[in-house]
Amino acid sequence: MKQFIEGSHAVAEIIKRCKPGVVSAYPITPQTHIVEDLAQMVASKELNAQCVNVESEHSAASVVLGAEAAGVRSYTATSSQGLLLMAEVIFNIAGMRLPLVLTCANRAISAPINIWNDQQDVMAVRDSGWIQLFAETNQDVVDLHLQAYKIAEDPRMMVPVMVNMDGFILTHGMEVVDMPSQEEVDKFLPPYQTDYKLDVDNPKTMGYLADPDYYLEIRYILEKTLREALGVVPEVAEQFKKAFKRETFGLIEGYKLEGAEKVFVAMGSVCGSIRDVVDELRVKGEKVGLLKVICYRPFPKDAIALALSSVREVAVVDKSISLGAYGPLYTDLTSALSSSGCKIPKVSGFILGLGGRDITKKSIVDVYDRLGGKQVDCEFMGLKQELLKDCK
């Protein structure tokens, strides 16, 4: 049913329909509304789950790790410093092959403290072995959470999935969302059943010591599973399309790529604004398109290389930075292209929107105007020179 709903509330509504048995989270802006809503749903018995109050994100992540280890579908959400505090447990959840779903309300990282949106937080746990999906709209947010449990709990996978939604822009943004009914969700996502759990009758150990004779192979197996996820993610997207009669794209989505000579590559809500700019530039006769990366980990390198195989020039828009190097998406994209064997387009990297700096249509056009000129690999856009005059 179509609703006009806040992004955070939409997350809570879809998670409720996924029927987790345990929810544990620690509130942090801009994730707070999600867990407030879920706590309320548990209190009013709308959601039959245990809601575990904790004193920190480290504990929240530990609680849902334990619950998943006991074979129970679980949920948590966090943001920014909260995700950083969870980091140790985040790596363990993936290493222990627990199919948790976590929402990251993307926000900047301290210092200086900043509550606004960028995508630096998720990059801190980029290499943890989680599948990481990025939503453009609140419809995506709903649809990706549903697919997330399906992917995570697939017996071929058994890896956690993180759904990224831009803080404030999506978490606090109200828009029209087609919310699936409980019956539809039940049909798509049956109850989670697994033999891989802590059970006194069939004892198992999880997260045991792996000495140098074993560790390498265990990491290899996790890496192999993530590569196989490149097949499972689109497969689940296809199932979703059939079940809900709604478009969803799996790994990547191209927008006006046909005949495009110059292409933006980006993730998350900024893709919406880029679509508007692409349309306006197309009217002016510019051959431009957008490639949206939905699944960032595993990185869909073949699909991306193929999508960009006849493109002349690429502008990567990063909302985070690996300080001292490049934007993370830029690094991944250039690596993927260089190993693809395809003809490599000219790729420039741009850093935009850190700490909630508004990305306007003009900021995107400014990026476009830089194409055709000197290739840049890590160019900050929209800097206020008056604030930098003492910075020699």
């Binding site: 006009f4 109200m174 029209v176 604004s273 508004d358 990305i359």
Partner: protein
Amino acid sequence: MKEIRIHARAGQGAITTASLLGYAYFLKGQYPYAFPHFGAARMGAPMNAFVRIDEKPVRLRSQVYNPDYLLIVDATLMRGFDCYVGFNDDGIAIVNEREGIEIPKPKGHQKLYIVPGNKISTEIIGKNLLGNTVLLGAYAAATGQLSLEDLNTAIRHRFEEKGEKIVNLNIEALKKGYEFVKNSKN
């Protein structure tokens, strides 16, 4: 596409106001995107809420810089800050009247309605709790974008769980705001 910018202080209900506007447009089959922007993360600090409305889903995620409509919830914000910045040439501004605060005149074809939202609220309920709802009624009358009926339904949807009394008080405030503008037009 139409764009609305609301100027308020954090805690004055601008997000609720934006969500009511969005819901009323949604009832008409439109695609609103309503969202806040906080300047500082504390009560009382100036903040904005925005609504962008289109016939198809809104994709643009930036703030609103060239609003067609302005709602100024707290006129003290107009001291030393130009709330009209970027205001569309034939835009409509609705300002909540505040004693002792001079409201700057808009330019050219821009229209300004100074609505005594706080005063009307005090007449209805004895305190200033319904000022924003009065402004919503004024918005419907001044812009012709929404009917009172659309906003009544939005109010009911939003406040139903708080009881019939709250719903009715808000609907009365809505009507008074609507009538204030209708009468001032004549």
